[in-house]
Symmetry: D3
Subunit: 147 residues, 6 copies
């Protein structure tokens, strides 16, 4: 059985989680926090359905036909990301945000850091995080031009 052994393919897995957060930097004054973050600085928190897409990229295994079993990737995301973030208050319940402001950008970076040790090192890893249907972030940002 042949046909895929040298080709690099990207695979994407979509997951989601629900969490509360507050955008707040304690190094700034309260007035600056309100000015910069507006209603996202509400002291009692607000929340989102975060739509998470994880992209893994590498060569297709010629015997198996997978870059990576998406069931395994889904279970990995569940164990290392969803079980820590889903139905949580990011500021209060998640140690990774003890000193990190939970903006969408920083959540994507944290999620990437949680997953990186558990995805095979020979595979590229990207995280896309939708905070609302209209606001989406991606980390890392740049993908090599294939030219």
């Amino acid at each position: 059985m042949t046909g895929s052994n040298a080709q690099r393919v990207a695979v994407y897995r979509h997951e989601h989680f629900n969490a509360a957060h507050r955008i707040h930097n304690p190094a700034l004054s309260d007035a600056d926090n309100v000015r910069i973050y507006g209603k996202c600085n509400n002291p009692n928190y607000h929340g989102h359905n975060y739509e998470l897409t994880v992209r893994v990229c590498g060569s297709v295994d010629p015997q198996i036909g997978y870059v990576m079993d998406l069931g395994v990737l889904s279970a990995t995301i569940k164990q290392y990301v969803l079980d820590r973030l889903d139905h949580k208050n990011l500021n209060l319940d998640v140690p990774e945000f003890a000193d990190v402001n939970p903006t969408a950008e920083n959540i994507a970076i944290v999620v990437h850091g949680l997953l990186r040790p558990h995805v095979p090192a020979n595979l590229d890893l990207h995280v896309v995080l939708g905070e609302t249907p209209r606001n989406i972030v991606q980390y890392p940002a740049d993908i090599v031009h294939h030219a």
Copy 2:
């Protein structure tokens, strides 16, 4: 200009808001709250992007061609619902939930109550609320035949 004067049409307007909440009934024991509501009972709150659809039903105005101006409906939803609920903690920041457990069912009922006085009384009003892409509620539940 003719063509629409006796016909009943339903119009729908989609909006959304983001909020934190905790499902909790203080009349139940803490153990019962955990048993019944599971992770939705997390004491530090979690949150959602609530997708709100408002349905208004009535006769098309024969001169204007509208059941109700959807721009006016959108502004009404903004003033009476979004400005009160968006980027808020439903349990702590919204008086309507002081004695009402903010399940999706109860949020839909509260939203209907907030809008009903501000939509013309001759128009039917229904609320559909998506708490997640997979969990949706509708109030009132049944569409009655107008005959």
Copy 3:
């Protein structure tokens, strides 16, 4: 082969078309047209991707297993609706709007009128028309409560 002969089922077919239009009632003054319709009254037209859902409801044919062949319904919609409205200026190119203001409500009523003679008379027919992802109309408006 049995299992479906007395049961009423609704089937839905999604289609779409792109058209230009202007909301304007010549029986009103220009000032009233602008006041009522705002930017939708732009004299040079604007346009939409109209998302059309046609709902047909009746008994499942016990031998065939269909309420109505959705391929036939799709072809019917194409012949009687899409071929007349798609990539057209509703005000200028479509005779049905010569004396009807092309609001979403009236377009739904016109589409229903175009389809009704070509869908078997024993089947109920409803039209849902999305003018934008946030503005949707339905005609007829009411569905019988099944109680």
Copy 4:
């Protein structure tokens, strides 16, 4: 805690499953099967991602705030529908279709029959099944689906 005790609310849960099928009625000739069902009659089967929405309608429990726990509803759908239909060949692997042609209409009726005994009898039950993004069926028919 009050606010919801007499009000009827509908709740919806979305799930999906993947299956192969062939539309074929052995009581018809092969020529009639091809003429009526076209490429859906392909003898080696084809398949779909079926998008399943289950709607349950009843009074909100005044103490709990739920019509029915959507987590319980999801588990019920998994046990009685998904575990039987997901990643299966409907014609060959699912006994309910031994004598029922697996059209979308009949699948919706079968799914309704699988769920009905396991949803509390005082709650109304409707099934909406998307066979493709453009072809959707609903059983029973008499309430309009708010997609």
Copy 5:
């Protein structure tokens, strides 16, 4: 507060606008315009709901936690793009298309040109434009590795 100071992240903001247009090149004969552009050449115009995604890419501000405030980006898109294109006839009402054929490709290039002076110069800018749910364009086309 630390955690993001050297990392490049891409942020995306979704917006939409509705417009009429006609694909037509006056340098070509009428016959060639019809042959090349088909029904998109309809002289009375047709229209679309354009789905616009703007991608901005750069380093996360270590103090603020943002690449760029998405509220500011949204306001920028509104001021320089939506206020000029929404509910307009691109050919007649928008000076940028006086000598540019409003194909989706050219609209994306024009939108990029309208936004580029108003997005900080140290941030990369890409535009994705959906003309219909099935036809989408992106400019610039290639994401260059920042190394």
Copy 6:
């Protein structure tokens, strides 16, 4: 008419097809096939609605304003991909999978191979294939997909 002659733009066309398949490698033991592929190895096949996005990238033709006519691209996809794969059993009906295991990765590579000879050679070509709404693959890998 000017404005686009040196600029590279990417254009995307969405299509879909429905097919049955079984993930199975005859070079592996039956036990290994079950262990590796789980329910995707069901001997009677299962199926999917495959969502196909084809991305073509090149310079905008300065006279025409297109990278490539998306109607032509749609017809090319229909002729060389959909007519071969839609409503088929990939394992049994499609010669390209006689010796290739129809994982999503391999289907994307095969679709790319079917299209490549029929898209102008000066245009880049990428294929994105959604097997379910949550599992998506892309070939070649090195450009990020803007979903």
